[in-house]
């Protein structure tokens, strides 16, 4: 698996993590937009969680009204540029394109969307306007996709918005959790700055809301609170050796990679535990960092994995090997560091996954990445009076994304349990409108 040399500097890093969906040039955008059929009741629109009028923006690109196209996109989705690159378009808009039924390549909707949005950002096109002040204030906790989208929509409705973010950058997992070959840090931050500049919400960075006292203050100072808190750290596996040096949580590893880039060292032999999209990302990423062997180990069968098949294909393309129907028993150590994983084989019996007795074996490695899901922020949520969560720790909210504490609204991963950026953005917009309806019932 010597496809990738270990990147020693930023340019080598960028080469290894070359963009999967590079920015289109004008000619390519013109040719691609020419192919759109302008379907009636277009399936792509219905497949988009934010319901962007896709045939319209594609037609606008085709008529060189690119800023108009961006306006169409941003009217429905504040993360227009980011979603164009990070959305799983294969299962959303592009997957719904009618061309698929004719075995013709679907329209490259994601890249067209990114093209138009980038043009608007680059030219600093004025697309948004804050609404006339309605003298109401909303606190937004978390500057992720949900928080920023809610802040944007609230500003257009005339609210003063303060966003409280624990980390140093906005956009949440868009910058901290998405694979670097899907979008660059610069692209993410440019869009965030573009939104913030035009809509004028205040983001307070490195200002985590952690205590009941802080929450009480927010409740006092603001007319409503929006929770865009996402999920927590990688869940514990609760097996021996988990705390050894060389064992990482996937979310934490990817965040480090996004921030430190080529300065992050992957092991030589890496084992990634998990079968979801994050596992695929982590496997691809360690391969691109120059690991000589990356094994993806999942407790169920290949078919049962949660990841999209195109994500698995992407990992395979960079040399990742799949190891299915195995579950980790313990991590092996050598001089206090991870030296391998002891697995036991599993099989499905009457629909239940059971371990095969006596089938233990050890795979050597010097790095383990656990991509076995993120925990819920249950402890934090307990501090909010009357706020209920379901059995899986997800915030319970109504159709307007109002929680069981009427002053609190919530959207994104903390409500849906973990989905795409686009879902969080779509929900947050509805939540913001819900806040408006709550504070101005007669509006």
């Amino acid at each position: 698996m010597a496809e990738f040399k270990r990147p020693k500097n930023k340019s080598e890093y960028e080469k290894n993590f070359a963009q999967e969906y590079p920015l289109m040039n004008d000619t390519e955008a013109h040719y691609e937009s020419s192919r759109c059929l302008f379907c009636y009741d277009a399936p792509c629109i219905n497949a988009c969680p934010t319901g962007i009028d896709i045939p319209l923006f594609i037609k606008q690109i085709n008529t060189t009204n690119v800023i108009g196209a961006a306006k169409t996109i941003y009217e429905s989705n504040y993360f227009g540029a980011a979603c164009g690159k990070v959305c799983p378009t294969e299962v959303l808009c592009e997957g719904a394109c009618v061309y698929n039924h004719q075995d013709v390549k679907p329209i490259d909707i994601g890249r067209l969307q990114n093209y138009a949005s980038q043009k608007a950002i680059e030219s600093n096109a004025k697309l948004f306007k804050a609404g006339k002040s309605n003298r109401r204030k909303v606190a937004v906790i978390g500057a992720g996709p949900a928080g920023i989208a809610a802040a944007c929509e609230l500003r257009t409705l005339g609210y003063k918005v303060d966003v409280f973010e624990a980390k140093a950058h906005p956009s949440g997992l868009t910058i901290y959790g998405v694979a670097p070959y899907k979008i660059t840090n610069e692209e993410v931050l440019d869009e965030m700055a573009y939104l913030e500049k035009q809509l004028g919400f205040n983001v307070h960075y490195k200002k985590a809301i952690k205590s009941k006292k802080q929450l009480a203050q927010l409740e006092k100072d603001y007319h409503a609170v929006f929770l865009g808190i996402g999920l927590g750290e990688t869940r514990k596996l609760k097996i021996a050796g988990e705390d050894l040096e060389g064992c990482h949580g996937a979310v934490e590893f990817i965040e480090k990679l996004r921030m430190k880039q080529h300065k992050v060292k992957a092991g030589d032999k890496v084992i990634v535990l998990g079968g979801g999209n994050t596992a695929m990302d982590a496997a691809s990423e360690t391969a691109r960092l120059g690991a000589s062997e990356v094994v993806l180990a999942y407790r169920r069968s290949k078919e049962a994995k949660g990841a999209y098949s195109f994500e698995y294909d992407l990992a395979k393309q960079v040399g990742v090997k799949g190891l299915f129907n195995v579950t980790p028993v313990r991590l092996m150590s050598k001089k206090g560091k991870v030296a391998g994983v002891k697995f036991i084989r599993t099989e499905s019996k009457k629909g239940k996954l059971v371990e095969v007795k006596g089938s233990e074996f050890v795979v050597d490695c010097d790095m383990v990445i656990k991509a076995t899901g993120q925990s819920k922020r249950v402890e934090f949520l307990k501090m909010i009076d009357g706020l209920e969560v379901d059995s899986k720790g997800r915030i319970i909210a109504n159709d307007a994304f109002q929680t069981t504490n009427p002053k609190y609204f919530a959207a994104g991963d903390s409500v849906n349990g973990g989905a795409e950026v686009v879902n969080a953005v779509a929900e947050a917009k509805i939540a913001a409108q819900g806040i408006h309806k709550y504070l101005f019932p007669n509006a």
Binding site: H30, Y31, S33, C39, Y40, P43, E75, V98, Y99, G131
Partner: protein, 454 residues
Amino acid sequence: MADLSVNFGGIKAPNPFWLASAPPTNSGYQVMKAFDAGWGGAVWKTLGVPVVNVSSRYGGVNYKDKRLIGLNNIELITDRPLKDNLREIEEVKKRFPNHAVIASLMVETKEQWEQIVRDSENAGADGIELNFGCPHGMCERGMGSAVGQEPKVLETITRWVTDVAKVPVIVKLTPNISDITVPAQAAVSGNADAISLINTIQSIVGVDIDNFVPYPIVDGKSTNGGYCGPAVKPIALNMLKNCAQHANVNIPISGIGGIETWRDAVEFILLGAGSVQVCTAVMHYGFGIIREMLYGLDEYMDSKGFETIDSMIGKALPNVLNWEELNLNYKVVASIEDEKCIGCQLCYTACEDGAHQAIALPIAENGERVPTIIEENCVGCNLCSLVCPVEECITMERRDDESKKQITWQERTKKGTIPNTFNDQRGGGVGHYIPSPADALKKNEKYKIKRGKN
């Protein structure tokens, strides 16, 4: 292999594909290159009175990603010295004796016409084409389309030429006239051996919307030009048919107008052209485009059993009638093949908004997208089949009783059975489905304008 050679009104050529008088025939260099590539003939860029050309001469019409479906030019006739052109004609004829070289001419006085005809013949031209079509620049000086639009003047000048010419004379007609058969008949009266059509159509191809000037722009200003390219083919075919069917226009016709492929050429020949002339396709793709045309024509002729071009000429003419001669009993309805349908629903919206509300949508909840034809509403207009992006997905199926005798408007007029009040039962306009106007507002259309509400 079919015989592609032609004898067009006495002008012989190895095939019917000729270059039209235009920039591609500006020089001996270009014509030799074209013949070498496979072209059968060339009508030389018009020789005539001295001119000066402007810089910036062409404007294009693009459709989506397709460049130059139409081209407009404000270039005039040749701006090279007459003696250079004549010398090069001679040189080309020497090297390609069996190819057709036709001199296109445009001068003013009788003496000038007689002189230039003799000069062209002396240079070895196989024929002469009179440029009565140029719709810009030259017409302002009383030449080109100014002649083509005045049948009497056209006839007079044609006669000046035919009286002295020893080689066949072709009159090239302008389409910038309401009835093309009038100048065509004038050409016949002037003893022309053949006609060619169409020359370019007066046009403005577009406007620079930032600077408020049409294209092409000459120092911030523009003028109308002559339009050609694939977009003009339907207009050319109709004018060709009008001339070819006219009893008094009984001379060969060289077809011109948007010909780019073998298929275009076949269509022109089937509607009566004895040779075809090409310009825009060469200006876009170069002389090499000829190979597609030659191979395609040859294969078509073999597949249809045509051994000569002559045997194909005008084959479609008997099937072009006046509207009043069409069978009013004939009835087709659209049929959608479910297996092929990709669910774009363009047929639905086209029929719903642009035709007769004869297509129904499936129940969306089932995830189903294949529309259905409501046969009783379908008037058989073809629109759905034209907008459908899938080949052969929507076909038109015959529904009338074929054993029944046909009836035409002409026959009904004779019988006195035409309607005499607005759309009475006999007119056929009563009885087919029209929704009530207010029903439109109940449709929750997906494309409603959403902006401007907040």
